[in-house]
Amino acid sequence: MKRSRSQPWIWLLPSFFLLILVGIVPFFILLYLSFSDYFLLYPDIPRVFVGLKNFRTLVFDPWTYNALATTFTFVIVAVAFEMAIGLGLALLFSKPFKGITLLRTIMLIPLVIAPLVTGLIWNQMLNPDFGIITYLLHSLGLFLNSGPTIDPSTALLSIVAVDIWHWTPFVMLIILSGILALPKEPFEAAKIDGASRWQTFRNITLPLMRYPIMVAFLLRFMEAFKIFDEIWVITGGGPGDATRVVSIHTYKIAFYRWDLGYGSAIALFLEYITIILCSAFYKILQKSE
């Protein structure tokens, strides 16, 4: 049967249409808004092209810098811990032992919980007045008349802990699937040559695992940059501005102050940073090959 050359394109049309509708069009709207003065509270003010005005505001806005710094701190600490713990757990679960199936299932439970629900659960547990974690900390003599989420010095760490709990299983899952797919021969050869466990891990497992590790890292890096739900529910960006990451900052500007022009500019800037950093990591990976 002769196949028409246009047939595959026809089948792809719905997907293209959807992609354009939910991905490309909003992006161009965002781009357009970021170069406009658009206050939803004052529709009488004409929506005019203002060139780079919003980006100029961004450059001189200490609140945005502060939010960026908080975001980077959060991403670096949270993703580093998730990668380390995730790798350790993946190695642990790669060897068969009694009860492994049950333990693996338990480990994956946080993954199936929506971020908003995760936030609500932890919000209750960390509640400064009646949360179980706060109660335990109080009984240890810690955070008396306070709580980890209301102390500006520990609020971000509390969010990091919640994120680690939520997303480490994801890292573990990706790395574990990589480990289980590794060829057996190099390990058998290393064993015959008398390599120690550490040497096997350092010289065989890790190099063979760099792609799954990089995939896990890139996915977590991009997601951590966009964290919103958990912080919104647990601290709302506070106390003060202690957990005000860029996504919360952008939301407050765009949907509290209704300054859609400036809000779009920050969102675009965040997207730009994420793309640059991800590309850089990808280049590093390619070079190491």
Partner: protein
């Protein structure tokens, strides 16, 4: 000596019966002809006379009899053209709205108009309404409009004024609507035009635990040499706050909503006015002629915020993460002995499914500073039903809004909602009975309302309030000084005001 009971003969009995029936027929006929057609006399349950009520809600309140309510037949006739229409209502998920929701099926049955009633949390209501306005999607027809959003909505043309609705559609306007009967009608106007139909009016109240006040009366007298009563001044309030904090495990003497959120700005305004009114109030009400600098960061303003922060030590540590939702839960959990809190939560304290302090709460007007006794001290809230200017079902929406506030029903709703609606409902026996049952709630609301100030209905107010959140949040969390915070706030407000009032 025993006396035999007098026997009533059949003839005497019949004579009495005929006399009673004849009297009934005469009274009934007289009533029928005395009342204009299409209206019915409202009588309070268990009584047989038409009631006259006097209200003292505001300066403009008048003595008004509950004379007439519009019969169901009028609503059914008016809605005939719109039967089968679906309207969407968006409101805040607080007790008054949840009470109202129970009655929605009655409206649907009566008019044939289908109502999709959505109640969600405060921030979400605002976000959804703004998104609906911006995209002109007209998802919602009837909107809950907080007084602090009114200026922005009306100024932007997002609402269809109900005053125009009344002029354009007299045939759809309840003949007994009587707008002057609503509490705080002026607060629903923008540039002297009525934009929303008054829905609920309330404000901050002084909540206190009656059981704890009784239990510790002796101890308090020993320590302070005076009786433990509802405080009249802030000095007395502070003594009580200090006395109760830590008196029992997890018991605190003050309540605050200090999360970096709109709730904190409301809390701050209470204290700001307490120290600065009437100066603040005078300026506050005429921003168009002045600037924030020199008022919101003046010496008394600094003193006010410092006092607010000082009192936080008597509140639960979690108060720094509280909005009204968490503060309400803390009150219901029994953590708080006394404190200022929004009145629309009052009746939830009496709901055993959510409250551990049922029948233990009393209400009063909030105390004032001895040095500024006549200050307007507490935030008042006056929300209304707005009609979306983009709505394709404005007429059906208007009918629904009026139906929820109709005479005769308002008192029924008020007694369960715990907020103020119509002036004429205040002295309704059902509301009076509820007042006694629920810790003098309505008496406290009426008393407190004399000291309420209401947010401005200027388009910039919503933005100004949002701009105040961050500086105040940084100050209460100790990241910057009170002076720095108020300077930042003043400069932000001036920036907004200069744009609109150069």
């Amino acid at each position: 000596m025993s006396q035999e009971p007098k026997k009533v003969g059949r003839r005497i009995f019949l004579n009495y019966a005929i006399a009673v029936i004849a009297t009934g027929v005469i009274v009934g006929a007289a009533t029928y002809f005395a009342v204009p057609k299409g209206e019915v006399t409202v009588t309070a349950p268990g009584t047989t006379v038409t009631k006259t009520v006097t209200t003292t809600v505001t300066e403009t309140s008048t003595t008004k009899p509950i004379t007439t309510v519009t019969p169901d037949s009028w609503w059914a006739d008016a809605a005939k053209k719109y039967a089968g229409t679906t309207i969407r209502v968006l409101t805040e998920s607080v007790p008054p709205s949840l009470i109202l929701q129970k009655y929605v099926p009655e409206f649907e049955k009566l008019t044939g108009i289908k109502v999709e009633f959505e109640a969600t949390y405060y921030d979400d209501v605002y976000a959804k309404e703004m998104a609906d306005f911006a995209a002109h999607t007209a998802i919602y027809d009837v909107l809950y409009v907080e007084i602090e959003w009114l200026g922005a909505y009306a100024g932007a043309g997002y609402l269809f004024p109900v005053e125009d609705m009344m002029k354009d559609h007299p045939e759809l306007t309840d003949p007994n609507l009587d707008p002057d009967d609503f509490v705080a009608l002026e607060q629903r106007k923008f540039k002297n035009k009525l934009y929303t139909l008054p829905y609920e009016t309330f404000g901050y109240l002084y909540y206190y635990r009656k059981d704890l006040f009784e239990k510790y009366a002796g101890d308090f007298k020993k320590e302070y040499g005076r009786d433990l009563t509802v405080p009249k001044t802030m000095e007395e309030y502070e003594d009580i706050a200090k006395f109760f904090t830590g008196r029992e495990p997890n018991l605190y003497g003050h309540l605050a909503q200090a999360k970096t959120h709109n709730a904190l700005v409301c809390d701050w305004q209470n204290f700001h006015c307490m120290f600065g009114s009437p100066e603040y109030e005078k300026n506050f009400l005429d921003w168009s002629k002045m600037r924030a600098s020199g008022v919101v960061n003046s010496s008394w303003a600094i003193e006010a915020l410092e006092y607010y922060i000082k009192l936080l030590k008597y509140a639960p540590p979690g108060a720094l993460t509280y909005t009204w939702d968490e503060a309400g839960a803390a009150m219901q959990e029994g953590l708080i002995a006394q404190g200022p809190f929004w009145g629309d939560w009052a009746l939830s304290m009496f709901d055993p499914s959510v409250s551990k302090v049922v029948d233990k709460i009393g209400f009063a007007s909030f105390p004032r500073l001895s040095k500024n006794p006549n200050a307007k001290t507490m935030n008042g809230c006056a929300s209304g039903w707005g009609i979306n200017a983009d709505s394709k079902h404005k007429e059906a929406a208007w009918l629904f809004a009026q139906w929820t506030k109709r005479k005769g029903f308002d008192a029924i709703w008020m007694k369960d909602a715990g907020v103020l609606g119509r002036k004429s409902s205040v002295n309704d026996p059902a509301v009076q009975a509820a007042d006694k049952k629920f810790g003098n709630l309505f008496t406290a609301l009426l008393d407190a309302s004399k000291y309420y100030y209401f947010p401005l209905t200027i388009p910039e107010y919503s933005e100004m309030k949002t701009a105040a959140e961050e500086p105040l949040g940084l100050a209460v969390n100790g990241k910057i000084s009170v002076k720095e915070a108020l300077d930042m706030l003043a400069s932000r407000w001036d920036e907004i005001l200069k744009r609109s009032y150069p």
